[in-house]
Every structure is written in C-alpha cells, then in structure tokens.
Subunit: 405 residues, 2 copies
C-alpha cells in the first residue's frame, strides 16, 4: 500500500463530465489498495468569472476579499469530486485548505505556506477515505482565507505530499508531461521521462509553462518526487526528482523559448560604481523582474546597460527609468519588443564542455544573429530576433540530438 | 449609535448591480453612525445551479458534501458585498458562518444553531468595520461546514442579532412586508405595520411565505425585534415583536390561504383506542406533516378520519396507509386534491368572541361550503373547495374590516 497525492488542474475538472472521469481515475488508484489524497483546482473559467464580478462591483477589489471570493472555485470542485466518488461507491470527504491544516502567512493573493497540520487528513485516511483537498488556498493565523497565487494548487499538492510523507505525487494536467521543446514550435519534440529539480526550475524560468518555479523549489527542498502527466490518457508522464548520476549523460535536456520578453538598453551612462545599482534598484522598487543583464563599457568611461524585462512591464520600466537617467548621466533608453529568449537546459552541461560553441555554431550556420548571452551552470540563454526564434529552436533541438527518431 | 443587523435575501443580491444597490443602502445606515452587521444569501439562482451540478455527478449526493457545495453561494456574495462597500469607501470585512462563530449540530442540510461566539464579529465592529456574514451556514464541532436549511439566512440574521444584542434586525426581501392577505388574491390587502410573534408564526404555518416558522420562534425566544421590509424601496415594513396590549384591539390581523394542501379520508375504520394512532404513526414515519385532523364517529363504532397533508406528499401518504388499512379494519382511503385552507389569525381572538360565527356567516352568505374546521387560541382554519378559496379570502378580508380605505 502506498500513499499517493493526485492533483487535478482546472481543465481536468472543467465540467461535470470531466469530474466524473477524474473520479473514475481516483477509483482505479483506490482499487489498487492505495491511500489517496486528491487536490483539485477550480473548474477552468470559474476564476475568471469571479474576477469579472469582482471588477464589476469595485474597481480595485481588496486582496483579502479577493481571496474570500476566489477560494469559492476550489470549494465547489472538492464537493463535486467527493460526490462523484460517492457515485462510484468510493468513500471520500472534502476539505477546504483550512480544514486540511494548510496555514499560510498573511500575504493575501500570494500567501506562502508556513505549516501543514495534516492530522485531520491523516485521520480520514486511516478510516479508509479518500480526502479531497481544495488547492490554491489556506488560512492565516487569524483564521482568514488566503490564496497561494499562480500555480498555487500544484504547491498545495506538493506541500501535502511532503506533510503526509506520500510515496508519490501525481500532477495531472492537460499535457502529457514535460517536453524537450514546445511541440507547437518543434514538431520533433519528445516527452522527457525524467528530469532533475534543477533542470525543471531552469525550464520553468525559461518559458516552459508546465509548472511554477516555487512548486518545484518546494518539492526539491522537501524531497517530494512528483510526476507531471495527463488526466486525458494513461500515458507515463515526466518524473521530477533529485539529480542522479545517469542524468548527466544527457547534455541538453530541453530547449525553451520565451517570447514574453522585451529588451531595454540604457545607453551612454557613466561607468562608475553605483550606476547599474541605481537602475536595478528602480526596477526592483517597481516590482519588475529583470532577467538577462549585460553591460558593455566603451571608451571614455561610458557604458551601455542592456537587460530584459517581461513584455507587459516595458511601459512601467520606461517610466521609472526616467528619474534615474539624470542621476546616472544616462543619455537614452531604448526598448526592443521584437525579441525572444532561447534557452538550452541540462545538468550534463556541468561535465560536458563545448555546449555554447555547438549552440552558437548551429545558429550561425543558419545565419541567425545572437544578441545577448547569459549562462548558468546548467543553462545557456540567448536573445534573438522574435521572428527567427522558432527556427532557432528547431535547429538547436536537432543540434543537441533531441529530435525523435 | 445603534447596532443594526441587516439581512438581504437572494433577489436583493441577485446580480452585481443589485449588490451595488445593497452596498449603498448599507452605507446610508453606516453614515447615520450605526454599527452594522450584514447577513446575505446566495445570489438568486446560484443554489439551483449548484444543485443541478451535484445531481449531474451523483444521483444521491451526500448531505455533508451538499453543505460543502451550497455554502459556496453565500461565500461569493459576502466577498462581493464587502468589495462593493469598499468601492463606496466603507470599511468592511466578510466572514463565513464559521468565522462568525456560528456553531451548529451535526445535522447536515438542516443543522440547528447551538451557540454563537460573536467575539470575532464584535472585534471588527469595534474597529469601525461593517461585518458581512454568510447566511445559511455554520460549522459543527468537528469544523465541518453545515447549512441551516430553508430560510436559513433569516435564522442566521436573527441569531446574530441576539448574540450581539442588536437594537434592530432588518430582514430585506422583495416584498414590502407582511400583508393582511396575499395581494395577488385580495387586491384590498394592506401592509401590516406590526404583528406579534405568535401571529407571525400562525401566518407562516398557514401559507404566508414571508418567513419560516423557526426564525420567528428563535426571535421570540431571544426577544429579537425584527422588521420585514423591501430592499427595492425605502417604505416602512412590518415590525415583528412581542404582543403588546393594543394589538388585541385588532381581532383579525390577517387572512392566509394555503393551496398546497390535499385532504385524505380514511373511512370506515373501527373506532377503538389506537386506530388513529396507527394511522398517524405511519404518516410520521414517512416524514409527512399532517395538519388539520377531524374524526367523525358514526353508528356501530365505525369512524371516519379526515386530515390534510402537503399536496406533494399525497402519493407517499396513500402508499404508507395501505399496510395500515388491514390493522385498523379501514375500508377505504380517498384523496381530494382540489381543496385549500383558509385561515384567519389575530391575537384579538383571545378576547373577542364571535369570530368563528362571523367567518362562517360570511362564507355561507356567498354560498361557500366549509369542509373541515380547526381552531387555536389565535387562529381559525377552514378547508374549502380550491376553486372558491380566492373568493372566500376576499370576503373574509372584508368581513373582518381589513380592506383598505
């Protein structure tokens, strides 16, 4: 008998028919003799409906009330899922995040899990029941409902798996797992059977939309092995776990493309200590996530500072750079939105040299120009023209031997 | 400064526009310097939508999960109402039933309130906030969500008013208050300015749909004075309170019609001790509410037993009477569905004689036949033909001087 946590996302429980299918799948796991905790999201679309109503009654809804409102979505799903299991003759009980003992800090709409008191969940499991827990939500120490922000239900599932020492955590979604590249861009992309936490993190921060970084970080910290797989079929998914030696045999695990980036160039600033700090302090104060940073120092102590920001933040970035320009004697801010980021990720890079050279040669052979370059221990990212990035991804995928046979 | 509880029903918060209107009304009360607790129902229609989804996933949804599901409706409304108040610059905070300290027994879908720990509500009031509480719901001692059954939000409001010792409890609905008769039947009907708890109870049990009996009973027990009024205008409503001497000057407070009744005659049963008991034991075991009961004993120790049951229960009643027939040597069960009950209610009957005579004469003059008759200290009910009952109501309304000037 194993303990298994199964998490089903919004499309997996999108309507009553899908919920019944999910119940069948849970029943199958139960019938194999396992103890099962299920974490569910709100039905796809419900959160947007609720947000639209919130906007209709108040231009700027408070975050505390937004949490009270949005947590309703998951509460509906847990009850319906428990009922669907009853319909299949499986004993089940639904718990809100608070009832499942998920306690968070007070940061409404993006709360962090502080502790999980799993005793109520354990008690139900020992009575032979499936426990259905509302993802995405918890309560703070005042007993007020909080939500965990984007990707919160994955986090709920992984945190509960850690708390009840589950043998396995399955993240069911609408894709078959993690791919070597986005199959819509690279038709030769293949599903990856296993990937290390660090690779998964680098892929997540490079544009792969499968999972949010913090869920992966939480899993790594608590040693929760999880599998990303589809709720629409019974194919094996992608297992995410700690790095093991044989993983390094693969130099590049995957290629990620992020088209949601813009490049900002602050040119002709005085190259003296503190100039760059002022620029990035201004970005941080405006809550803008700066990604790739390159500084070129030219003659006469004049430097150019280039970096990327999320596409949606370019206007805000320009605005908050203006007051800084005088201070750093910067002459000009330029924004380039027609760029994209291509990344190759793999723990094998730690022991294999020549990855950068292979990447650059592959792109050069196709006459694709590389703009910025940054590297980490297991990742190389380059900025390219937006209209060449898909082609670059296909070339790179092939160069590193990732194409399907 | 007074403490006021305001309860808004499903049509009063039916959509975002109505919720904004409700927020304006609450703001008005706040601006008069009062402390306000608001109790809201689910938006009209939401409960039915949720029930339909429950039925779609499971033929017989468990009551525990039904409570988990349905409580979502009120939780949405409290958040939206709090947001709408914020939009009007009013400080407000939303509480689920559990957060408001409403503790119930374990009887899911029809839980009874056991205690209210209003300390969290009091704390918010003392900070100058409006507290928006989800009606219809509470938690049991295991921390599981319960619901209070039909009319539960009224009960929540009255129970909270008792717990915080409110000066006033206003029940906002889609009618102007309690009327001397249903205005759709008796066009001369007038709104009643004040009515005693006992009269309100008799009206409720006689077909007036304004409020459920148990909310009135709870208010009487705890001395909560409440006003039933419309959320769609600013008219005075009907104040429900303990009987005061001047109330007795009015002999008949109102006329109620209940068309949702059927008459059952069990004829030719042996008139010996226990026969009637067996019949009504069978009804009780089937959860059928029996209302008016009349027994006629004829010659030879043979009796006829006549009583009324809710129209929807006639088939069930016939079915569970069959096995009893042999035992009580009953020959025959007849069901008459084309009947209705007319009641006149008034605390003045305690001190005025001749009410029955006036009622019977009024109906006799119009050639309307009376079938069954029952009386209580402050009520006389008669069963009539369904197709004459509207006319009978108009006549009775006039006979007792209730017609508008």
């Amino acid at each position: 008998m194993s303990r298994i946590v199964q998490k089903f996302g919004g499309t997996s429980v999108g309507d009553v028919e899908r919920i019944k299918k999910v119940a069948e799948r849970i029943k199958l796991t139960v019938s194999q003799g396992h103890q099962v905790v299920v974490v569910v999201s709100a039905r796809a679309g419900v959160t947007n409906e609720l947000m639209a109503r919130a906007k209709a009654v108040c231009a700027e809804p408070s975050e505390r009330e937004m949490d009270m409102l949005l947590s309703v979505g998951e509460q509906e799903t847990i009850a319906l899922t428990a009922m669907a299991l009853h319909g299949h003759g499986v004993e089940a009980v639904s718990f809100t995040g608070g009832m499942a003992g998920i306690q968070t800090d007070r940061l409404h709409t993006k709360a962090r899990i502080q502790t999980i008191d799993a005793s109520a969940v354990e008690a139900q499991l020992s009575e032979g029941k499936v426990v259905i827990v509302a993802g995405f939500q918890g309560i703070n120490e005042d007993g007020h409902i909080t939500t965990l922000g984007r990707g919160g239900s994955d986090l709920s599932a992984i945190a509960i798996a850690a708390a009840i020492k589950a043998d396995k955590c399955e993240i069911y979604t609408d894709v078959d797992g993690v791919y070597t590249a986005d199959p819509r861009i690279v038709s030769a992309a293949r599903k990856i059977n296993e990937v290390s936490y660090d690779e998964m993190l680098e892929l997540a921060s490079s544009g792969s939309k499968v999972m949010q970084s913090r869920s992966v970080e939480f899993a790594e910290k608590h040693g929760v092995i999880f599998e990303v797989r589809s709720s629409f079929n019974f194919n094996r998914g992608t297992v995410v776990k700690a790095e093991v030696p044989h993983m390094e045999k693969i130099v590049v695990r995957g290629v990620a493309v992020d088209k949601d980036q813009a490049k900002i160039i602050v040119s002709n600033i005085l190259d003296k200590p503190g100039s760059a700090a002022k620029v990035f302090r201004a970005m941080a104060d405006a809550n803008i996530v700066v990604d790739m940073i390159v500084q070129n120092v030219g003659r006469n102590g004049i430097a150019n500072l280039t970096f990327t920001v999320p596409l949606g933040d370019t206007l805000k970035a320009q605005k908050c750079l203006e007051p800084v320009l005088d201070e750093v004697r910067g002459g000009h801010v330029a924004v380039h939105e027609n760029i994209a980021k291509l990344s190759v990720v793999g723990v094998g890079m730690k022991t294999h040299s020549g990855v950068a050279a292979d990447l650059f040669k592959g792109l050069a052979d196709a006459d694709i120009n590389i703009d910025l370059i940054t590297t980490s221990e297991i990742k190389i990212s380059v900025v390219l023209d937006l209209d060449r990035v898909d082609e670059a991804a296909r070339i790179t995928h092939k160069v590193f031997g990732l194409d399907a046979d």
